[in-house]
Structure formats: C-alpha cells, structure tokens
Symmetry: C2
Subunit: 468 residues, 2 copies
C-alpha cells in the first residue's frame, strides 16, 4: 500500500515535470509579481502580472496566470512594485553635467555665459566625462533612451555603447566657431562622418543637430534637411524657444514665426524633432502636425528660465508626436525624466486653471509612448508589448514617499523621484539592479567628474568670469 502510494506520487511528479517541460517557454529574464503598466493602446494594467524577455526583446506581457509556463535564466520578483516601459528623455545635453549648478539664474545666460564657457572648456575629455556622469544619473533615474544635442557626439556614443543605453545622438551644427568645428560647413562634415560611423549601431541612432533656426543660415538648414532625408536620420533642433528667436526669424523671413519659416524653407519633415516649442500659435501647431514633426517638452527648464509654458497639453490632445525631455543639466538641472513628472502635471493645471488638466496618465504617456513617437521610435520602444525591445524599469512602491498606491499613475507623477527606480533594463540587459550600476564603475566616473569640476573652478569660477 505504502509503496503504491509512493509510486503514484512519483509518477504524478514525473508527469507534471514532463508536462511542464513540454510547455515551458525558455526566456532570459522574467519579472513576476508586478504591477505592470504596459502603456499599450488600451493602457492595460496587470495587478499581479509578468514580463518575459528573450534576447533583447519582450517575449510576453501577461496577467501572470501563466507564470508556471516560463523557465527563465534570471528572475526578478517585483513583489508588487511598478513595472513599466523605460523612460525616454527626448532632449538633453548630457555632457553639460560637469557645469551643473553654475551661474543658474543670470539673465541672457546662453549668450553671456554658456557659449563663452563652452568655447573655453568643451573638449573630447569634457564631453566623455560629462556623458559618463549623466548616463549614470539617467540609468539610476529610469531613463533607458535619450536624445542628445552637443559636440563630439562620437565621444557620447562611446559612453552609450559602453553603459548599454539606447540613444539618439545629434551632432551640433552652428554658424560660429565651436570646439569641434570652425563653422557650420565643418559641423555638417563632422555630423556626416559620425552618421557614417554609427548608422548601423544596434542601440545608437546618429543624427544632425542644427542648434536653432536663428543660429544657422537658411542654406545650412536646407542642406541638413536634404542630408537627413538622404541618410534617413533625425534632425534635432531648438525651436520656438525664445522671444529673441521669434524676432530674429521674423526679421529674416518677413514676419514669419520660426515654425512657418521652417515650413517655408522645406525644413519641417517627419525626421525633425523640435525641442521646447513654446512660442507657437494654433496655426504653427497645425503645421507641425501636418509635417509629422516630433516635439520635446521640457517644462522644468522652460519655467526655470522664465521662458513660459509650452502649449504641450494642446499638442498632446491634438495628436502630435510629443514627449517629455529634461533639457541639459545647466538648464533643468537634473536629467531623469521622472523629475519632470510632478512639474508637468502641476504647471499645466496652474496655467489652465483646472485641477483635472494634465492627469497623471497623460504625463506617463508623454514619458513613454509619446516620447517614443516624438523620436519616431514607437514601433520599437515606449510600451511593454510582445516584440518590442526590452527597455523596462521597476519602480519601488515601498519607499515611504510611495506608500500606499491606490493609483499607480498618480503615485509615479505626484510622489516618485529618481531614487525610487529600483532596476533598469535596456535591450534585455540589466544595467542597474537594486540601485547598483552593473556595466560601469560609478565611483570612478564620479571621481573623474569631480576632478574635471576642479579644472572648471580654476578656469572660470575663481577668475570671476562666472558669477555665482
């Protein structure tokens, strides 16, 4: 009798094992017990769901009832934490981290301080050191993809390749001499060489970054437009950011707005991503929509510089391609998109005089799918859906500022900050686990940045060139 029972048990176990192995889906990474915000078309949320990753792609996103069907090389138990698409920062100047907290509130800062500062201090080393620091900040803040505009973008690319992030990197073109080009023509050549070098990189999209309409000639903007269509790469530009820009462009174009001017010269294309887009009329917005232009909304930097509030909510509601950006660390000053959430939600409520305006779910949309759409990458990233690239973050819901979570979108927007991000995964690879960086040496990166900051102090702060 005893033997029989034992035999029966053994057989059952064997059958189960056999059935299980028959059904088992082998995956590389499994995140279970998760509050999954998929950010798919229907905004599906799974309370106790799972996300399975095979190679660098999302293999499955489910309600968790099929948990037993997966056999994973690595399993993360989210223990109820929020699992969502990695954040996409649509606009920054990552290398400027090394200048952060300098001369923050001086008037006419770009022309009086930043351009001269950059002329003196931008170098390959500065770009590399600043990007390494900024990459760590972003990964620790849940940013998995970012769009950058700066100089020596091939140096930024090396740091992105090393840390394992995804990025759209725009080489700056501007009409006056800068660190890596004597003029716009040299800037274009630098960009073309960079594009040739990186056009087949699996995680890096090289791009042109004409600084702004008013800091480039019509001819330069047209040449870049033509080349961008030829290479099929993005063009990133500061657009309709300041009143000064509107004045200069109106003088140049016989009274046109920056957006109208760009349309007139043929520079509004689906490859264009405009950053800021503050001073625009309803007809400008229609033009941007018609030409399928992407838009980076940088609330924090725009209000810090008192430039005003972009009609981003209207553009979002009108169906334009718009996502959140942080602007650079001399502007924002932090570069994790999560630090924008709070301000984006609240300032749009303030200016619309409506507490229901810009609800949290729209903010999260603008940080994920909206940002993916702004960069024309919505087929690859921005939501947790089968077949998309595995860019995923886990947000701690047990930190005291996050308890309790009745509404995960509200908790993310009104309560979370960068340090609440627990794990960051890009292209199926865990870059940060339990807040520890796995692919780079954070301490060495910080120390190199601090050493460079000493050079900055000696060069411009102690001489009194930069007023604090």
């Amino acid at each position: 009798m005893f033997k029989k029972t034992l035999l029966a048990v053994s057989m059952t176990a064997a059958c189960l094992a056999s059935a299980s192995s028959l059904a088992a889906e082998k995956v590389d990474l499994l995140i279970k017990n998760a509050t999954v915000l998929t950010m798919d078309q229907d905004k599906t949320v799974y309370d106790n769901g799972l996300v399975a990753v095979r190679d660098n792609k999302i293999f499955a996103v489910t309600d968790g009832s099929d948990l037993a069907e997966y056999k994973a090389k690595q399993t993360i138990d989210a223990d109820g934490d929020i699992v969502m698409p990695g954040l996409i920062n649509t606009h920054t100047h990552v290398s400027m981290t090394v200048f952060r907290s300098m001369a923050d509130d001086v008037p006419d800062r770009l022309h009086r301080y930043i351009f001269p500062l950059e002329k003196k201090l931008v170098s390959r080393d500065m770009v590399r050191i600043g990007a390494q620091l900024g990459n760590v900040e972003m990964v620790k803040g849940g940013v998995t993809t970012y769009a950058d505009m700066y100089y020596f973008e091939d140096e930024v690319a090396k740091t992105v390749d090393q840390i394992g992030m995804r990025a759209v990197l725009g080489e700056t073109v501007i009409k006056f001499p800068v660190a890596d080009a004597a003029n716009a023509e040299e800037g274009i050549m630098y960009a073309v060489n960079f594009i040739e070098e990186y056009k087949n990189h699996p995680r890096i999209t090289p791009a042109f970054a004409p600084h702004a309409p008013y800091t480039n000639t019509t001819e330069t903007l047209q040449t870049i437009t033509k080349l961008s269509l030829q290479y099929d790469v993005p063009v990133m530009i500061h657009l309709a950011e300041s009143k000064r820009e509107n004045q200069v462009i109106a003088e140049r174009s016989g009274g046109k707005s920056p957006v109208e001017y760009m349309a007139q010269i043929g520079a509004l294309t689906p490859n264009l991503v405009g950053a800021h887009v503050i001073n625009v009329s309803d007809s400008d917005i229609e033009l941007l929509k018609k030409h399928d232009v992407g838009i980076a909304h940088n609330m924090s930097a725009n209000i810090k510089s008192a430039k005003g509030v972009s009609p981003a909510l209207k553009m979002f509601d009108d169906g334009l391609r718009i996502g959140l950006g942080t602007d650079g660390p001399m502007s924002g000053n932090t570069i994790s998109t999560i630090d924008e959430f709070n301000q984006v939600a609240k300032v749009h409520k303030l200016v619309n005089k409506d507490r229901a305006a810009m609800p949290p779910i729209k903010v999260i949309e603008m940080a994920t799918m909206g940002a993916a759409r702004a960069l024309h990458m919505e087929d690859k990233i921005g939501s947790l859906e089968t077949g998309k690239l595995a860019d995923i973050i886990v947000v701690d819901t047990k930190a005291p500022n996050m308890v309790p979570v009745y509404n995960p979108y509200s908790a993310l927007v009104y309560s979370a900050y960068a340090a609440n991000v627990k794990h960051t995964i890009v292209d199926g690879k865990v870059l940060m686990q339990d807040r520890n960086m796995l692919t780079v040496d954070e301490t060495a990166i910080r120390n190199e940045a601090l050493k460079f900051a000493d050079t900055v102090r000696k060069t411009v702060v102690e001489s009194g060139e930069i007023v604090q």
Copy 2:
C-alpha cells in the same frame, strides 16, 4: 642614540596628549569635513567646517581649523557633503499619508471627497498609522520639525515623541461633526485637554487648529484666539486659500477679505500661522505683517489644485514671517519640504517672468529660518548657531544628480530630492544614519500602513465611492 630618540618621541607624544586634553572640548557629536550652510544672519558658509553638539544643543559651528580641540563621543565625517539646519515643514496633515494617490484630480475635492472620506475612516488608529508613516518619510527627507493640523493630535504626539522629531501639533476645530468632536465646542475642549497634556513637552508644541475662517463661526474663532493667548500656544488655520472662502467671508463680513475679517474680529495675532495665503491684496499683506502673523507657503499643493500662486516672494521680501510647507499627502503629495524647492524657485520665476526671481538662497531661507520665523521658533531652530537646538541634516553631494556642486544652494534647490538626505539629527540625536531609521521600525510601520490601505480600498475604492 636609538633610545634617546625613542624617549624624545615618547615625551613629545605625552606632551601633545596633555596639551590636547587640556584644550579638549568634550562634545557628544562632531560633524567634520562639512560644507556648512549655517543660514545665520550673514549666510555664513564654511567649505570645510565643523558642527559640534553637546546634549541637545549646538555647541560650536566653525571653519574647521579648531577640529583638534574637540573630543567627541560620536563623529560623522561629512566628506565634503552639505551640512545644514534641519528642514521645517510649516504645514501638513501627516496622518493623511494613508489616503495618498487617491482621487487626486477631481473637482471640488475637499467637500465632495475628502470630508466624507474622513467621516468614514478617520480614527485613532488611522491617525497613528498615517503619522508614523509620514514621520518616517519626513525624517528620511530631512524634515526635523513639522506643523500639523488634524484630528486626534494626541495620537500624532505619541508618534512624534517616539520617533524623536520636533512638531507643532494643532488639534482641528470645525463647525460640523468630525471623528473626534461633534461640533466646534467639543473640538475646542479636545484641543484644550491636548494642550494641557503636552504644554511642557520638550519637543512638542500643542496648538489650536481652527480649520478655516469659513468653516468656523466668528464666535469660535474669537474663543480660540482668547484661549491661545491665555495658554500662549499657536493657532494654525487655512487662510485665503480658495475663491469660495473669499466669497463666504465677504458675505459674512460685508465685503471684507478673509484677512481683513480676521483682523476685524481680533483673530490676527502673533500666535497665528496662516496656511496658503493665496488670495491676498497688498493691504492684506500689510495687515499680516502688522500683526506679526506667520505664513506657510505650499506651492506644490496650490498649483496641483489650480488654486493659484501665493505672492510668497513679495511677502518674503517685505519681511513677513514666511516658510515652506508641503500641505497634506492628499494634496502635495509628498511631505518632505525638499520636494518643494524646485517648484518654489521655478514657478515664482515663471509668474514673475524673471529667471532671477526667487534665487535658491531665498528658497533655502524659507525652508529653514523663514519657516522657523513662521512658527515663531527662530530663537530655537532654523540655523546652525551656537546655543540653538541641534536639528541638523547632512545632504549627500555624491549622488549622480548632485555632482558637481559649484553652488550649494543651487544644488539643493535645482538638483536634490528627498533621498539625497543622508543623515537626520533632531535635538542632538541621530534619527536617520546612512538612510537607516534608528528610532523606529520602518518595515513594521510600512506594513501597518499597507494593511490599513487595504481597509480603505474595501471601504471606499471598491464600492466606487472614490473615483480614481
């Protein structure tokens, strides 16, 4: 020869030891190698300074050149991190943490949702559980003193006593039935009993908290004013917060503003602390100044509810007693003052159309000495000066979002968030060290809050009473 040298060395060491012990100042806690922001009258900053604590008071704050003169029981090496006065949150409803992220953006929320929700769910347990969670959040965010307005404040007091924070606790008085009083008279009695019980507590200041002018009668407000002067305790009130309040008070008083009405009935006294103070004219501001009223400025909650922006910068510049508050966790939604910094600086720039408006040093002043002045506690807390109570925080400058620091005020305001606070000290006692809570069990507190949140879900969320 060898022996002689050895003897000489020994003698020198003995002499040094003797000299040292002669000069040694015995202290309990020494924080060295610190970037000390004293927030004293002259805004003295020491780049490599020290703060020495004896018992519960600051014994010395220096440039660090006298480091060898102290013999401390405990030493914290700040390694260049920022050491500053503990933050003072001038306005919150700490126990409401258990309702956080619920129905955030619904119109007329206070009357349609919050009051009915509270009627159903406020209890001694709820107040205790919510306060414990909120206390942990605040200590971990660098808040050392807070001002609270809620029910069952004796329960809040027990949690404050246990964790070791400092607080001004105001027992609510309101004209309709609430959890701990059937009417305003009972509320006043509850408050008086609470004040009697806690009036000699070393870290707790009991207070009256009439909810608002429009939710109390003139008689109630006058009775409370009289009693507050008799007991010499603060009166905390929501003041000039909403347009509805202005309408109700205008009807009651023949067209007066809330501030004018309070002046007329004799309720503007130096004991009063008004929260929000949004809808005020220049003459209202003059009245508040004349009567030496304290003011709590809650930017984050005010813009989230689209109520508008308080003229806090004008009040600060005019010399009024004004400090930062967070409002409650259903409003703000986080309750660490550091989370306000960014928004306070930037939104005042936006509305003043001036990037130089509200510079970081003013924000830090409003979080420390300004807040101490708002609570009439500036002789005891708010700055690091010899003789003041030892409420001190250490802010990590090595987190990637904080590197580098050219200007510590800028770094705190534009880059820091709550998790950058490394150590929190209140009354000379370390409450958090390296982000670990030393006086309470954080996990047990979180679990109790999560369990209570399940009750909330069953009571009002699943029934559909609260719309998400």
